[in-house]
């Protein structure tokens, strides 16, 4: 197994620390929360958090080691450049296979240039221009449409996941009878349509500090707004509905089928746009 590079190691360490803090917070909640209000649900939440954290950390380590297979052969300057290009490509309408292919080509080019002892600035000039050139070489693809379609998919995955977790925690007699809080829906939509694209954009621009700051800021505003509404706005009907209304989101097989169809359709549209862009290039 090849060693993990310094930058990847930082990401893994950062995630491990976050996971550790999350586990401590969940454990503290379990210990200090009054037993009468606790119920079995909190034990389940703790178990789910720990399992999800461990799985995510495992995936992160595997991905970094796998990506390191060729990138680990690059010296520091070259590796940093490779990482910058890989990050910038994340914010694109390229499919995962196209990205992987491009990164293989780039790793090969960089390794050969490195072998000739060329300074990195003579190999890749302006990274933004380079990545723009790569994106254009796959034909025209509207990034906004791709973000919108990904948002639709993520909202659907998110809401299905919430209902599955609540079903497991509450032990409702049927999955379709499980209700979710109305306030979950705008939250999931907000994460899917705004937070994830923002994360992609900021990471692609190597603005990691901005990303963390934006994340903390947005979460703080969200929690703060909810707390204020809860404290001072409960006499307003829509606020009360927002906090207290439980809805049966996936109430039948029909709705589940519709949601799965929406996800499949989004995938198909993305595939079709990619397919058309290559066909248009071939027709030139």
């Amino acid at each position: 197994m090849r060693p993990i590079k310094k930058q990847s190691k930082k990401i893994v360490m950062f995630s491990a620390v976050l996971f550790g803090l999350l586990t401590i917070a969940a454990a503290a909640m379990l210990i200090f929360w009054p037993k009468s209000e606790q119920g079995e649900a909190y034990l389940w939440i703790l178990i789910v958090i720990i399992i999800l954290g461990l799985v995510s950390l495992g995936i992160l380590i595997i991905l970094n080691v796998r990506r390191g297979k060729y990138a680990a052969l690059l010296q520091d300057d070259y590796y940093k450049m490779y990482e910058r290009i890989a990050a910038a490509l994340q914010n694109s309408a390229l499919s995962i296979f196209e990205r992987r292919e491009v990164l293989l080509d780039i790793a090969d080019l960089l390794l050969q240039a490195q072998q000739k002892n060329r300074p990195i600035n003579t190999v890749i000039g302006n990274v933004d221009d380079f990545v723009k050139g790569i994106k254009t070489s796959f034909g025209y693809r509207n990034n906004i449409i791709f973000n919108l379609l990904s948002g639709i998919q993520n909202v659907t995955y998110g809401l299905i996941a919430v209902q599955v977790v609540l079903y497991l925690i509450r032990g409702t007699d049927s999955f379709f009878n499980t209700t979710i809080g109305l306030m979950i829906i705008p939250y999931v939509a907000f994460v899917s349509f705004l937070l994830i694209p923002l994360k992609r954009y900021l990471i692609s621009k190597q603005k990691k500090v901005w990303f963390v700051a934006a994340l903390i800021g947005i979460v703080a505003v969200y929690i703060g707004a909810n707390e204020l509404l809860h404290k001072f706005g409960m006499n307003i009907p829509w606020v009360q509905t927002y906090f207290e209304k439980e809805i049966n989101f996936i109430g039948s097989w029909v709705i589940l089928t519709v949601l799965v169809t929406v996800v499949a359709l989004s995938w198909f549209i993305k595939w079709y746009i990619r397919f058309r862009s290559i066909k248009n290039l071939q027709a030139e």
Binding site: L104, D105, D108, Q112, I124, G125, G133, S137, I278, Q282
Partner: protein
């Protein structure tokens, strides 16, 4: 400065097609050949998007083969469509060069 112009990109496309028509090649070798042939400052970041675009247009047939240095290397060979494109480029270049030469000769007579 000229490196970013449409003109140079068009010329490079023709040159890359010609180099690969001559012999099956891979990305870095194409860049080295270009450097040896009068584009000494050409960078990977200029050539790779062009190679990729030409490939996606169906002007190359590509195969990956194992490489001792790292990842499997992509080899480009010209396709029938690529050969026709090259012939078109050569014809266009010949006419354009002739016309530009006439204008420049008169200007700097």
């Amino acid at each position: 400065m000229i490196e970013n112009t449409q003109l140079l990109r068009g010329i490079l496309e023709g040159c890359i097609l010609a180099l690969i028509n001559h012999k099956e090649s891979y990305g870095y070798l194409v860049i080295e050949k270009l450097r040896e042939s009068g584009f000494p400052d050409i960078q990977e970041s200029t050539v790779y998007p062009i190679l990729n675009r030409l490939e996606k247009r169906g002007l190359f047939d590509c195969k990956r083969r194992p490489s001792k240095l790292g990842p499997p290397r992509k080899y480009y060979s010209i396709s029938e469509k690529g050969r026709m494109e090259l012939e078109g480029f050569a014809e266009l270049w010949k006419n354009t060069k002739q016309n530009v030469d006439i204008i420049l000769e008169e200007e700097f007579k």
